[in-house]
């Protein structure tokens, strides 16, 4: 399982990377905004994307839309981990095809729960 973590703050990337390692996911890469993430996704055979929303360059919501618009990436599961907490934003992300949405600050338990749920649904073919 190859995972790309996208966040402009390196501290948050490290936290997510360590949490994912605790959950048994050792193959992670990092990008600091959508503009660097998108080419990595297009050429990197990633199985899962964890992205922030508020980033300079290309924001997470635009990265999500770009992923869904890309023929080869459109099925990639995307988990948003962000401080953006307005209902309109969550609805926007849901409509853009996000697979999970976590509001910062979050706990290790929440991350595990959401990831488990995403893969359960994928295995069930949903």
């Amino acid at each position: 399982m190859k995972i790309l973590i996208v966040d402009d703050f390196s501290t948050m990337r490290r936290i997510i990377k360590n949490l994912l390692r605790d959950l048994g996911f050792n193959n992670t890469s990092e990008a600091d905004d959508g503009l660097t993430a998108l080419p990595m996704l297009q050429s990197g055979n990633f199985d899962f994307l964890v992205t922030d929303w508020n980033m300079p360059g290309m924001q997470g919501i635009d990265l999500l839309k770009a992923v869904r618009a890309d023929e080869r990436l459109c099925k990639l599961p995307v988990l948003m981990v962000t401080a953006e907490a307005k209902r309109e934003q969550i609805v926007e992300a849901a409509q853009a095809g996000v697979n999970g949405y976590i509001v910062k600050p979050f706990t290790a338990g929440t991350l595990k729960e959401k990831i488990d749920k995403i893969f359960e649904r994928i295995e069930a073919g949903g």
Partner: protein, 246 residues
Amino acid sequence: MSEALVGSEQCLEFARSLVAHLEAGDEQGAQESLEALSAIRESQLFQELGKLTRELHNTLANFQIDTKITTLAETDIPDAKERLNYVITMTEQAADKTLGAVEELQPLSDELQTRMAKLHADWGRFRSRDMAVEEFRELSRELDQFFDWMGETMPQFNSKLTDIMMAQDFQDLTGQIIRRVITLVQDVESGLVDLIRISGQKLKAQPEKKEVNPIEATGPSIEGIDQGNIVKGQDEVDDLLSSLGF
């Protein structure tokens, strides 16, 4: 020929005729020349006054368009103060959480070291066959207890380490807030430059209405400042998403 030059030539002409009338003893003529002279002076004064009035009017009109200072002073700066206070709270909580976890881990780490040292010494004696059977039974009981204790303690250790790691999320959240305040400081700076440019005028500007884009990324929300449709936690996110069929 400029207005001023025309004015001064006319003045000279009337002045000459004034002298001529006086020398000729023509009192009536002298009076007329004098009046003509002061009429020129007055019309120049009115022109200057008109120019000044127009400049003042333009300056005031320009400033009323540029009302961002009012918004900055009435809304944005109090808002920034709240956000910075929130940064203090978050960094304090992170430090407390980290120090708390370290304080809980230290006694465990000390105990681990003490028990290890004792077992290590006993094990050394056993290996060099310097131990009675009764003592070995005691050692094996101690080893059992040690393994049980390790089994209970290590998950605690790991969970405290995770707590320490999670406490560092303040760096991301406060960073987003501070970036926002830096943008505000830049706005204040440009507002002040405008104010200096037009200093000395009394102003009455209407606060500008900001266009709000509901999905614009604004960083962490803060209770009491951020208005609108903000979820209160992960549970509300989950409820909202499940209402959308997730």
